[in-house]
Symmetry: D2
Subunit: 336 residues, 4 copies
């Protein structure tokens, strides 16, 4: 941490700051400047809390230098983490294709979609049993009945299942039916849920929050790793900005950053990231080209009839097109 | 809802859209234009789901006209809601002053702060027992021990207690110690928690989400009212924008809007809204001038020593100054 | 500047960085840490350009500490700047009320509005002769004819005139008719225009850019002062965020910050800041309560018939109400 | 336009709105609903100004349906526009590579960079003679001397030249040296400059504004076309959001949207879009995969020594890598 002193800071105040640093167990190193002095803190093993320092008279601001994340960092764990589930590798050499409808629908329809998705090249199946909805009056998902349907999909097509967990109470009932638990964008900083999932023996797909900074996202993953669960898949799904031409702003700039800074695999959800069916395929291409290790594509045999998110759901034909695009893109020289 | 057809929409496609509207139980009303036709939906009693319509060939976009909120709306409930707790009225004629440290600290210190806050003019006490923290390595609150301390504050000073509830599991243990349950900014769309709190017999202070639109915020409140809990207090606490000169961007534009559109009381938290101690007092003034019905001020007898959020915590002396400002501002002609 | 080295930075690389700092004429001060080393630059008289340093192998990032603004800073010029124009003081003891229609309309109507505005308590008159419009097909202002009308307003009512200057070419023709030249939000970083206006002998009202950081705004003012024009009035008018409930997000958090960091006066434009007529008065109150030294209010004798920005224009009756509010607010203890 | 009436709108007020619509020359079409009535406007040939309508008693809001852009729209001009300059096609079958340093440097160095860029596969050369800088104290470009250098580059290497025009005054002096005039992000809504450039016989590269909506960007292009200049190239270069992990947020979601909605070519500038050298190549790949028709890459033979924007400038070696990536990506099936 770097403590910037005010221009009018007195010698006594400066000494007081240095003493406070010593009391906290660190070493102060004064850096005299033309107009003001700064004090570097050394000897710390992790981030320093600015609380007790910013309050001191004479202090203008405290600039944090040390990164707060640790277990998710590539500096601590240089090799890529590869999450393995039912024969599928996420973070391995081949991008993963996670597909399915936004919500689980009737069993017959869900099985039909799963069959078509598998034929199109999907390697995992994703559909919501419990749906987070902005309105209390909107369809909230089929719940436990949907879990049973997801179990049938896995049994019949051998596709590992991804589904969203909304709260701690649902973790237990989902255990038998779901292979990867998704934490949704609105729950990225639901710390009670993250603590619970840190102790679970299932991989977690952690969606980035609607307005989460890169650091906050990694820190949410840090909760899972600190809790003992190292199988974490990051998922970029667009953030909220002033843009009104798309549901969200897909922030692909994070993809090469995650690849460099963290060892965790990253997948991209272009369906939520752009929010309109016609733009899903070009954005899926862009995500892979940027270095994403997989895609999450809302897809349906009859997209317009989807229970939820119809506007951004593509047909399983388009899904097959996207899988073909992946072959072309696999010709790009690996960067990471 | 208004369905905008593409310029190249054929007569058959147009008929198909009208038939789909009829099948959904509504009445279509075609609106011919120079370049394209639009179809108005009439006969609906609430918002229409665009899902089954946007998918039809010939449809360019669907524009929602009906507002999704209902129970929180002043059109449905014209009189102001006044929440009463322990002799204090929120949403009544006098603004409420909710003060206290960010986190509950030692019992002695917390009681000292409460005493000073009461002397300064605070009418309610707020402090966190369970803290949502970005980092798993940061102080997470004193938990149940803190609840007991809050009980002492109420007993000793007669101040009603506000404290944040992080998850459904904590609702029960908090019942005996806390008078108003706060839903924090990161949990505004934790729908499991909102459903649980809809069934609780305690007022809820609902903070606006970091990147929540006005409508999403009201819809979160709608969950509480739809669940049967009508004692909801809205709290603006700043939103996330590109600004880097303050912790958040306090969006006071919502204050007169809430006052007009909803019957629920609104309070403002300038401490989080600006994030630096020196600017809390001017922003507290601005919030009241804009029409806020109360303030939530992080305050401490020795702000710099706060366990958390020291940089934005004001002294109880400053709190007293803010209470004095309220007297001046009460001279403004009421607008609502 | 603080140069953070990579964890794997070698001793040779570290030495190379130090030598580069010396070559640039500064003094390097190494700060050893547990995991990595940082190098503080000392001996600089202004901000250091990170360009030649960030490129060096071994460097992770460069953190700028020195503020780039100088002439606008209160550290350099401790007393408030008071801009005087035609007997009116901006930045003095009494807030200024700048009112008028968005665009100059017919001479008769403009004079009628000016008369009503003056009666309501306005101390300056503002109306656009040249209008920046998003669409080339929208009304672009009455141009030179409008300037003549503005001259009449000044002559007849003694109100100093504020009007927007769109380009360097218009500076000359505006000289005789306009007392304060307004730089609009879209031109805040039109550096050619700023350089031209630095050499002009008229006060400048500098609106904040739609997405300008606090620092960029002060740096735009710095262009004017560096060019020799010290009569600069800052104007907050809302910024662009994800919010869709208002035309812009009025960022009142900047008001107490400008008051502390700069000696320049700051006024607020709640008309653009919120964009809907009904919310202008509460936001005008909030702006003054936060410490603004004046208001810019779009007002009209028949607001709905305004040539432009009708939705946010208030009646001159409302303007009179706002002036009455100012009396109440003048009872607040001065903070700056 | 759709006019939404208030729930408490009386019959007289409703009639008054209909009469106002008729007076404006349009036809009103009432749409009765359960709670409120709406009035559709028909018979308009372009967007309707809400000004005179929003003011009427009984009106809640006016929703614009007609798009304001016309000449830039693919509905009006279905075939792709191909801009041809010095043997290079922008918007044709092959993506264009515009490369060069941020600023023109010494003649020797600039020629060396041009030679290396051409060898790497660049098809156009771009460098700034006049630089828009946040600080008045930063390097402002070499000006006319730089133009002469750019003339040499064209002469010696046959590369068409792109360079930024900061103001109307510079248009004339640039005529002889520059083939494509760039309008920078800060000038996207400098309407005086846009009007001037509408009358110029040179292609314009129009960068998207820092916080420009999609519609505002197209409307800026509309100014150029309405002025008579149809050779316009759109350039996405990142927008400003809450993100702090990159200089800007590259909004690739616009790429497939421009391709569908407009006939104008679109190129992407990943250098500004991400702002750090290491991430330029992955984002260049992503831009092309999303459908961009060209790239603008800040590149240098010795990036760290760039006069400006060193942190985001890549080496000409990396430029060659990016050109190789283009070959792989050209294998993707065309979508537009």
């Amino acid at each position: 941490m770097l403590i910037i002193l005010r221009q009018d800071c007195t010698n006594e105040q400066c000494t007081e700051v240095e003493e406070a640093v010593v009391r906290l167990g660190y070493k102060p190193l004064p850096v005299p400047g033309e107009n003001r002095t700064a004090i570097c803190i050394t000897g710390n093993k992790g981030p320093v809390d600015p609380g007790p320092l910013i309050r001191l008279p004479g202090v203008l601001e405290c600039i944090t230098v040390t990164k707060p994340y640790k277990l998710v960092s590539r500096e601590v764990h240089p090799e890529n983490t590869v999450v393995r589930v039912g024969g599928v590798e996420i973070g391995g050499t081949k991008p993963v294709v996670i597909a399915g409808p936004c919500s689980v629908e009737t069993e017959a329809r869900t099985l039909a979609i799963a069959e078509a998705a598998k034929a199109a090249g999907a390697t995992m199946f994703r559909a919501g049993a419990f749906k987070p909805r902005t309105s209390p009056y909107s369809f909230q998902g089929l719940g436990k009945e949907a879990l049973v349907t997801l179990g049938r999909v896995r049994e019949q097509f051998g596709l590992p299942i991804v589904s969203e967990v909304l709260d701690s109470e649902s973790v237990e009932p989902m255990q038998d039916y779901v292979d990867v638990l998704q934490v949704g964008t609105r729950n990225m900083q639901n710390f009670s849920l993250l603590k619970k999932l840190g102790g679970v023996r299932k991989p977690i797909l952690l969606k980035r929050g609607l307005a989460a900074t890169f650091e906050e996202w990694l820190m949410a993953a840090e909760y899972l790793l600190a809790g003992g669960n190292e199988e974490v898949i990051l998922c970029e799904r667009g953030v909220r900005t002033f843009n009104d031409h798309a549901r969200n702003t897909l922030d692909l700039n994070v993809v090469p950053l995650v690849r460099r800074v963290s060892h965790l695999p990253i997948v991209v959800d272009p369906s939520h990231g752009v929010g309109t069916r016609e733009r899903v395929r070009p954005m899926a291409r862009a995500a892979l080209a940027a270095g994403a290790q997989g895609l999450l594509i809302e897809s349906h045999t009859d997209p317009g009839m989807s229970y939820t998110d119809a506007a951004q759901t593509v047909s399983t034909n388009t899904l097959a097109d996207i899988v073909r695009d992946m072959d072309v893109l696999s010709g790009l020289e690996p960067l990471h």
